[in-house]
């Protein structure tokens, strides 16, 4: 097996496909006493036109910070985000405003992301009014169309307020609102985590349908690997601010190469294997993001850690076509997390 760094040629070829191209993105939070947390560090990836890219990781891994950074809702320390060829990082507020209709976001808690005192119809119409989209009559027509699209006919739900809706219905309204200005990219931050199972399936199917019908590109963030695998074409696994593995959904499940991805997969109890919960587990807890371990951040919990892991930061590199891993000792072979060696 040969290990290749990402070449400039590959990079420019990928850029043509990429609708959103992120390079060496860094986000820092000041946590007082002169300390900073690098919530997102050296993150690079391409979001290809028409794909769904899943981002998965545990709490504190920086996935939500990444989402917020991509729409510039949080301050970016360094790096670049190219959206349709425009660099978002260097943009003024005014320029950003021009971009935002094409880059929308859906949040985890649909109820608190909506003004409780406004009617569903007005909530969905708001982006249109802000942009002074066509005439008020045409706007009303567009709202009806949007609400139909998400399965919430406006004659039934248009006059209701968020508190009169269930969580799933609220999430549909916020999807309709995100779609109002015909975005090309939607960033979904844990959109189904707060929903019941039966409702979660409805919203996931809706997102799939809308993506196909409107040619959307999705960045789908979740802590739930089963959900992410179901909806994504490719998945990025994050750990303490870094992407540790990025590959197709199938490859991540069939042959996870990073020990963290393996542990994550091994920790998920599934209905399909009731026999042995004794799969490879992750031991220990997440180290403090204020003072992460040197070198590879995962080494303190990694069963394969060597001296090199403490001294040298593993770069994200190709181990197979389209399979990127940041590990000095990537694991090979068929899904070792599925046997009970680690029991």
């Amino acid at each position: 097996m040969t290990v290749t760094e990402i070449t400039d040629d590959q990079r420019s070829a990928a850029d043509e496909l990429a609708v959103l191209s992120v390079h060496d993105l860094d986000v820092r939070y000041d946590v007082g006493r002169g300390k900073t947390v690098r919530a997102v560090k050296d993150v690079s990836f391409d979001l290809r036109r028409g794909e769904t890219l899943g981002v998965v990781g545990e709490s504190g891994c920086g996935k939500s910070t990444l989402a917020r950074a991509l729409v510039r809702m949080t301050k970016i320390a360094s790096g670049s985000i190219a959206f349709d060829g425009n660099d978002l990082v260097g943009m003024s507020r005014r320029e950003l405003r021009q971009i935002r209709p094409r880059l929308q976001m859906i949040f985890q808690d649909p109820v608190s992301s909506m003004n409780p005192r406004r009617k569903v119809r007005d909530i969905v119409a708001e982006p249109l009014s802000i942009w002074n989209w066509k005439t008020p009559e045409e706007r009303a027509g567009r709202v009806d169309e949007l609400l139909d699209l998400v399965g919430m006919p406006s004659d039934v739900f248009g006059e209701r307020r968020p508190q009169q809706l269930s969580g799933g219905q609220c999430q549909r309204v916020s999807i309709a609102r995100a779609l109002a200005l015909s975005p090309s990219v939607i960033i979904c931050d844990e959109p189904v985590s707060a929903l019941d199972m039966s409702v979660q399936a409805q919203v996931l199917n809706l997102l799939e349908d809308l993506k196909a019908a409107l040619g959307l590109t999705l960045l789908f963030i979740s802590h739930d690997l089963s959900v992410v695998k179901n909806i994504s074409d490719r998945i990025a696994v994050m750990y303490l601010g870094r992407i540790v593995e990025l590959t197709t959904s199938e490859a991540l499940y069939e042959a996870p190469a990073h020990p963290y991805s393996q542990g994550l997969l091994g920790s998920i109890p599934t209905v399909d294997d009731t026999e042995s919960p004794a799969k490879r587990r992750l031991t220990g807890e997440l180290p403090s993001p204020v003072d992460p371990p040197s070198g590879c951040h995962f080494r303190t919990r990694c069963p394969f850690a060597q001296d090199r892991c403490a001294n040298e930061k593993p770069e994200l590199r190709h181990i197979a076509d389209g399979h990127l891993v940041a590990c000095h000792f990537p694991q090979h072979g068929a899904a070792p997390w599925r046997d009970d060696r680690g029991a």
Binding site: A201, N205, K229, I231, L265, P269, T270
Partner: protein, 372 residues
């Protein structure tokens, strides 16, 4: 009759001495439990005629979506529901003692030593202004004749047992100084501190990350097996139930719609609701973009006393009978395993097949749900 733990030799009894009485007796028996909440909008039958028996050292899983009544059931068993506005019925036998109708004062001697509970949110369940060690010591002193120093020693041992390093240091900390996983371990140590015969775990890992969830669930299982403790695991996660329970009850709208050995229920679901839940959950083993089968509508918020089956409005098999008559929990064909279902037209039976066929042909169910 079972004796109170007062005569126990304290320290030496742990770890393998469950509080269970005679041989062959179930740790927990719940008979025809009902809970009504009286609200200005009317009475809500939150738990509707539920009966089950939990054997010594067994785990009973209770799964259901929000509002299905699973947490109310647990709180009712614990007798933690408020007295005002709540009416309960039925009998609860804990280690052979009838605890139904007991008030807080009388329940005190059962809490901790016979039945203990692990809650979802450890941060609100633990006392925020008391060191975690003191909280465990207090409980041990309340229920056992141990001296303070013995109780402290036991606390340190318990903390070590649940995987907390440097227990002397940790027991002097306050809940907010611990991570979520550590807090949950403390709550488990607290629950185990008086060697209960039954542990009720209400979504014990829902607030935790998946890697910590696996650690906590493995810990709970280990403790449960080692202590031969009965456990009730309440969860919305079918995968968790599949891996950590022996028996399963599926709840919907306050009723048990299906019950039986976990493997059997999940492999051959008999209730249309269980089947629909399984088909609606994304599975890791499936390829990406697998279409999820959805249940139309949403879980009932308040189930009035409907004439028919509570699930009928969302059920693809619903017939006229389902709207006017309430199905009873009856054993399925291979009922010797105790597999029961509350449905007139169960999945995998000729009757169920026929009902679905009729509905597909007419394009709608008896409840008016359109089938595509």
């Amino acid at each position: 009759m079972m004796s109170r733990p007062t005569g126990r030799e304290g320290e030496t009894v742990h770890p393998d001495a469950p509080q269970v009485a005679e041989k062959g007796q179930d740790a927990l028996v719940v008979d025809n439990m009902d809970v009504w909440f009286h609200t200005p909008a009317g009475s809500n039958h939150a738990v509707d005629d539920i009966s089950f028996a939990l054997g010594v050292g067994k785990t009973m899983g209770i799964v259901g979506e929000s509002g299905s009544g699973k947490s109310v059931l647990a709180k009712s068993v614990m007798r933690l529901l408020p007295a005002r506005g709540v009416a309960t019925g039925g009998q609860v036998l804990l280690c052979g003692n009838d605890i139904s109708g007991l008030g807080t004062r009388k329940m005190r001697k059962h809490w901790g030593s016979e039945v203990a509970m692990v809650f979802q949110d450890a941060l609100t369940a633990l006392n925020p202004v008391m060191r975690v060690g003191d909280q465990i010591v207090e409980q041990i002193r309340e229920h056992t004749p141990l001296s303070r120093s013995e109780a402290i020693a036991k606390t340190h041992r318990l903390l070590t047992e649940v995987g907390i390093p440097s227990p002397e240091l940790r027991s002097r900390q306050y809940p907010h100084q611990l991570s979520g996983g550590m807090r949950q371990r403390v709550m488990i140590a607290l629950a185990l501190s008086c060697d209960p015969a039954v542990l009720i775990a209400d979504e014990p890992t829902t607030a935790l990350d998946v890697s910590i969830q696996a650690q906590i669930m493995d810990l709970l299982r280990e403790e449960q097996l080692g202590r031969k403790m009965g456990m009730v695991l309440i969860t919305h996660d079918l995968g968790l139930a599949a891996n950590y329970t022996d028996e399963l009850m599926v709840m919907y709208g306050g009723q048990v719609v299906e019950r039986g050995p976990t493997k059997e229920v999940l492999a051959q679901p008999s209730s249309p609701y269980t089947e629909a839940l399984l088909r609606a959950s994304p599975r890791l083993a499936n390829p990406p973009h697998t279409r999820l089968e959805t249940l139309p509508g949403r879980p009932p918020a308040i189930l009035g006393e409907s004439a028919g089956c509570g699930f009928a409005p969302r059920c693809r098999r619903a017939q006229e009978r389902c709207l006017v008559e309430r199905p009873r929990l009856t054993l399925t064909e291979n009922g010797e395993s105790g597999h029961g279902v509350r449905c007139f037209y169960p999945v995998g039976t000729p009757g169920g097949h026929e009902a679905l066929k009729i509905n597909v042909e007419r394009g709608t169910t008896a409840a008016g749900l359109e089938l595509r």
